[in-house]
Amino acid sequence: MKDILEKQAETTTKEIKKTISCCSSSGRRSEPIFTLSGKTDYVIKSTSGEITPVNRLDHLMARLGVKREQHRVEPGLYTMGNPKKDSPVFVSANYTLSFDALRSALKSIDCYILVLDTKGVNVWCAAGKGAFGTNEIVHRIESVGLKDVVNHRILIVPQLGATGVDARQVRDRSGFKVEFGPVRAADLPEYLKTHRATPEMRSVRFTLYDRIVLIPVEMKNFLIPLLIASVILALVGSYTAAAAVISAAFSGLVLFPILLPWIPTTDFSTKGFLMGGLAAVIFALDSFYSMTNENLWLRFGWALAYMLVMPQISAFLALNFTGSTTFASVTGVKREIFTYMPIMAWVSGIGIILIIVLSSVKIIGGI
């Protein structure tokens, strides 16, 4: 596997060294290599718009949350095709999904790509943290000697980078004018015709596809605690209860993101609550009607326990989805936490006590 990756790296990113007789070095980082002649060698790597099977495998792993830290591209300046001095410069993050989306969108365009060091995080998230930001752009422009590579002073930055990039400061400090391009790299060819983005190109979406690809990572985050909970429940004697935990998790982690826009409430917690509630009704009815040889109170108790606990689990999972969405504001999320978390904690607490009581009744031998 590693060999294939290395070979890939060799073939797709051949390093071209350019000798440029300028020295605007600031003594930072190691990209400029000083040669004996006093000239500075800037390393420019080349890449292509081709997305290989190895790239696709990497994307899949990134989506699945496998080796999260390792989906990185080396920061620096890349060429695509045969760019000339007046070819456009696009800015990207060093996360493979971001970089590859840009590469494949620019397939037929001769250009430069300036990859910032965002620690392997996508543009938007990194911009929120400031890693995709003014300082890093200014530093990267200097460290790759961009002023000598191109004869214009324009950078095309993805719009979602604007959270971290102050366009005026970049211009004042580096001389480069920031042009905020469209939100999605796929719209770039269209954008380049006029250098104007339509309102559509300027808006983030959160499509069914966007939501579905988030499911694996969300699942991975909660997998272990949920498995532990269901194993414990199965061990103390109720397979149905174990299945209920898994169903509640399924409602919160799968049904909720898929049905998000169509669930008729606005808050994440209440949406998750409704999804978990649907599953809970099934389990409540089942335990009420299938445990016919048990005491009526016991049947009622179990039904109630499902109704109490399951919606809280999916509501909690749904609330945790806020960070992955493209529209939840801090104020709103805070308000949700303060409004619903105490309710979730209390109600599920009561439910869990009820389950413990019901299970011990069963173990002791019933009423």
């Binding site: 990134a62 949350g65 999260r68 830290e69 989906h71 996360y95 999904l97 392997g120 995080v121 996508n122 938007w124 998230c125 911009a127 929120g128 943290k129 719009q159 979602l160 604007a162 959270t163 971290g164 990039v165 102050d166 366009a167 005026r168 905020f180 939100v183 983005a197 309102p199 300027r202 808006s203 983030v204 988030l214 990572v217 969300e218 985050n221 409430t265 606005t266 808050d267 994440f268 209440t270 609330l319 945790n320 806020t322 960070g323 992955s324 969405t325 493209t326 529209f327 939840a328 504001s329 801090v330 104020t331 709103g332 999320v333 805070k334 308000r335 949700e336 936490i337 409004t339 978390m341």
Partner: protein
């Protein structure tokens, strides 16, 4: 009561606006709309408090408490007793 997203911290002072159009350019939710004389605040409820408009407005006509709207990050910060909430979600969000 069941809509936590009706209000947020976005504030806009049209008096200061010089109509540069930057806010309409950077906002991913079309909260601002360009107009003949001044930027118009057309859909404040859609603001997700990303802060892009505030950072790029040349006259400080826009104010917003920007941050990461991520419940897991906030709860984690609360549990660890940290004031500052940073998105700990790496590449997933």
């Amino acid at each position: 009561m069941f809509n936590s997203y009706v209000s947020n911290t976005l504030e806009y002072d049209p008096e200061l606006c010089i109509n540069c159009g930057m806010c309409s350019t950077v906002c991913p939710h079309r909260v601002f709309s360009p107009d003949g004389k001044k930027a118009q605040l057309v859909n404040p409820k859609a603001c997700m408090e990303c802060g892009a408009c505030q950072l790029n407005c040349p006259t400080k006509a826009i104010k917003v408490d920007n941050g990461v709207g991520c419940a897991s990050a906030m709860m984690l910060a609360a549990v660890k007793g940290k004031k500052e909430v940073t998105c700990g979600c790496d590449s997933s969000c």
